[in-house]
């Protein structure tokens, strides 16, 4: 075998004074990093296999392990970074497209971190959420066009179907297949307990989870896996996935080795076959075709379910969203270029699409300019990392946010970005039963509920600080935001003033 030019990215550092050779690390590592040397009675490590998922570190009973970045360096320069050099070597070795998982890691601007939130001083009282009601409840869906009254003059209170959320956060689409049964169960149960929604992704809905239907968004994507009438009617809403922030313009590929047992049954495809979602929907080659699919899905569900159209944030997103808002869709979900994924070509993930902050601001403003903002609700995703990101997104104009990566982290994900290997040591992005078992759905549910309960407190605290006691008074309230470290153009697109103005 030819030599590999690539040195291991991480170093496994073991404190042999502490190591009791209990071999937990060995049993926990699905990548086969750790092994026991019977002769020398010591633990060995093959660092080339390590992805820095921190599983062994977390489970080592004597804290004998740490994983550190290997400080071995290539002869880097400003143009040829270590990562770029490594990618060249990889492709020269394999001849293949580079694959990656999770969101775009490149040092491109994170606008959330350049936006600051307002608070009341003197002229307007801040509101203490511990003493006063603080409303974070959100309704998603088309608003009524006109006010109608019966012959008695009473309002006729019928509205297009609405989704009710206890707070402006939902779990974004992650399919059963890309993530495990236990991960799905945790998301479904947490969404139910929290009064929010989770999303099946394009993997169908396992029959065990139909009971969480009121808190489920069922997704219809280009591969149409797992889609049938009962599935469409099982959820609270239907999402048509046109695109994904991590990989705009391309489809998906779940390798045959993950299409096993329940996954195969739920997707309604034979075991071991690759599940390939085409890049476009082959019945949607333009906006009028999307309209037909929207209405087909509405017909199939007696017009009782709102239809979400999810698109990746791309250059012309404002015009695209305007088209979608006139297509019969009730909700538009926009996924920014930092959105996560179970697997995407690295070049696409790192170079295609635009930041959600700019996309959201542009879409919200465009829909208002056209007077059709009431036609649809807006969901912002990719990547929302904290309660303050949520507050900023809502103030820019989002009705609610999608979180994916943050939810997985609550379940134990350590962002090793190796989902595509299917060997997730935390039992999340894997179908291997011995690994899936590591994620206890009771604990997973609790941790998700904890995370969002904490966020809800933080959202209420920030709203109260601004003197706002209902989330709808924050939505699109861009005066509550100021920018730092931005150009005039960036501020103009975000529709906010610079700090100090």
């Amino acid at each position: 075998m030819a030599i590999s030019y690539i040195f291991p990215e991480f170093e496994v550092v073991r404190n042999f004074d502490r190591c009791i050779t209990c071999r937990v690390c060995e049993r926990q590592c699905s990548n086969g990093v750790h092994s026991y040397d019977e002769d020398g009675k010591v633990m060995l490590a093959d660092e080339s296999k390590c992805v820095d998922c921190q599983r062994c570190v977390a489970l080592c009973p004597t804290r004998a392990l740490k994983i550190v970045k290997n400080d071995c360096t290539f002869r880097e320069d400003a143009n040829w970074s270590g990562a770029t050099i490594k990618e060249i070597y990889k492709q020269a070795e394999s001849g293949g497209v580079l694959l990656s998982s999770m969101g775009n890691p490149q040092p491109l601007p994170v606008y959330w971190d350049r936006i600051l939130i307002n608070a009341s001083q003197v002229t307007n009282p801040s509101i203490d959420p511990l003493r006063e009601p603080m409303e974070t409840k959100v309704f998603l869906g088309k608003k009524a066009d006109d006010i109608r009254r019966g012959p008695d003059g009473e309002l006729i209170c019928d509205l297009p179907p609405q989704l009710e959320l206890s707070m402006p956060v939902m779990f974004s689409a992650m399919s059963f297949g890309s993530i495990s049964y236990n991960a799905h169960e945790s998301l479904a149960r947490a969404a139910t307990e929290l009064g929010i929604l989770y999303n099946t992704g394009e993997g169908g809905l396992h029959e065990d989870f139909y009971r969480f239907g009121k808190n489920t968004i069922v997704q219809v994507a280009s591969g149409r896996f797992g889609v049938h009438e009962a599935y469409l009617n099982a959820g609270a809403a239907i999402e048509i996935k046109m695109g994904q922030g991590a990989k705009p313009g391309i489809g998906g590929h779940l390798p045959g080795k993950k299409i096993v047992g329940e996954v195969s049954r739920t997707r309604m495809i034979p075991e071991g076959t690759d599940a390939i979602s085409p890049a476009p929907h082959h019945d949607i080659y333009s906006i009028e075709d999307l309209r037909q699919l929207v209405y087909s899905l509405k017909e199939a569900t007696q017009h009782k379910k709102p239809v979400i159209v999810k698109v990746a944030a791309v250059h012309n997103i404002a015009a695209i969203a305007s088209g979608i808002a006139r297509s019969g869709a009730d909700i538009i979900a926009i996924d920014g270029f930092r959105g996560g994924t179970g697997a995407a070509p690295t070049r696409i993930r790192d170079n295609v699409g635009i930041p959600i902050e700019l996309a959201l601001a542009a879409v919200d403003q465009r829909l208002r300019d056209e007077g059709i903002r009431n036609n649809v609700s807006l969901v912002a995703g990719g990547s929302i990392r904290s309660a303050s990101d949520v507050v900023k997104a809502v103030a820019l104009g989002a009705d609610t946010c999608y979180i994916g990566t943050a939810a997985l982290m609550a379940l134990g994900c350590h962002l090793c970005r190796s989902c595509h290997t299917g060997k997730c040591n935390w039992g999340i992005a894997t179908q291997r039963l011995e690994l899936v078992r590591r994620l206890n759905p009771d604990i997973g549910t609790r941790r998700l509920v904890n995370l969002l309960t904490a966020w809800k407190h933080e959202i209420a605290e920030m709203m109260g600080g601004m003197g706002i006691n209902s989330i709808e008074a924050l939505r699109g309230n861009r005066l509550m935001l100021r920018g730092v470290n931005m150009t005039e153009k960036e501020l103009e697109i975000l529709g906010i003033s610079h700090a100090g103005e």
Binding site: T123, L155, E472, L474
Partner: protein, 338 residues
Amino acid sequence: MTGEKIIESMLPMHDRSNGLGGGFAGYGIYPEYKDFYAFHVFYNDNSARAECEKLLGESFEIVKAENIPTRKIPEITDIPLIWRYFAAPRDSVLSRLQLDEKELVVRFVMHVNSKIDGAYVFSSGKNMGTFKAVGFPEDVGRFYRLDEYEAYLWTAHGRYPTNTPGWWGGAHPFSLLDFSVVHNGEISSYDANRRHIEMFGYKCTLRTDTEVIAYIADYLLRRCGLTLEEVASVIAAPFWSTIEKKEPKEAERLSYLRKVFPSLLVTGPFSIVLGFDGGMMALNDRLKLRPMVVAEAGDRVYVASEEAAIRAVEPDAENVYAPMGGEPVIVRVKEGAY
């Protein structure tokens, strides 16, 4: 009632404002021109006036154009040109644009205020008028000779500007058609409200938050056809927890209004008086973060931020009470009495 009484009632309120804005609205003040829209306009100079008058003349027949009479007093300075016009929409324009006359008036006002530099239409109703300036309210009232007008309803305001400059256009009341709003407070939902209402052709140009309430009132009452009570349930919507406790029909109605008009919920402290043709509605924010009292004396009703303002002119006022947050107090003039 002449304007004298309301000027008097503002005297004990002197310290609630800082001299950077005062104003009044009187209803029923132009009985001889009651069928015409009364436009009150500030101009920075005569070129703005010429431009505005040209535009006005294109869409309206002007039956009278004059300076608004003022009294020269040292307290009021830096006075712009202050004009008023009594005008009727031209039928040809209405039919060409397929608009009703109120919509034409609104578009005219929005156009002038956003497009003509140095011209601000600050009153545009029939048989009513707004009078405002930079100064303390009692001085503003004397400046505009309000003792010479008789109205069935007066509102008044003294400003203590906080977020935006004190200038003539920024004084309260803010009015559009026959709606006028005086507001004690600061709206934390302002930009959410503004960006929503601007979808429907309104343009917030006066650099202060209260303006948006006048446009919300016009939008909900005139364009959406809501009742005053329903408007109160939109802008000072009850909490969801309160709605849940209502009987089902009422809960359905309240929840419908919140779901349809989420972006018109007004948060932050406010006590407002909304004047309209034939009456007024007083309303507090739902947390009641600003004071407001109501009292009666004979067949008159008084609303003020402080009881002292009422006692100043009606020492024997009765039934004094402070309405709950979000509870509208609606007063209408008896049929035919105006």
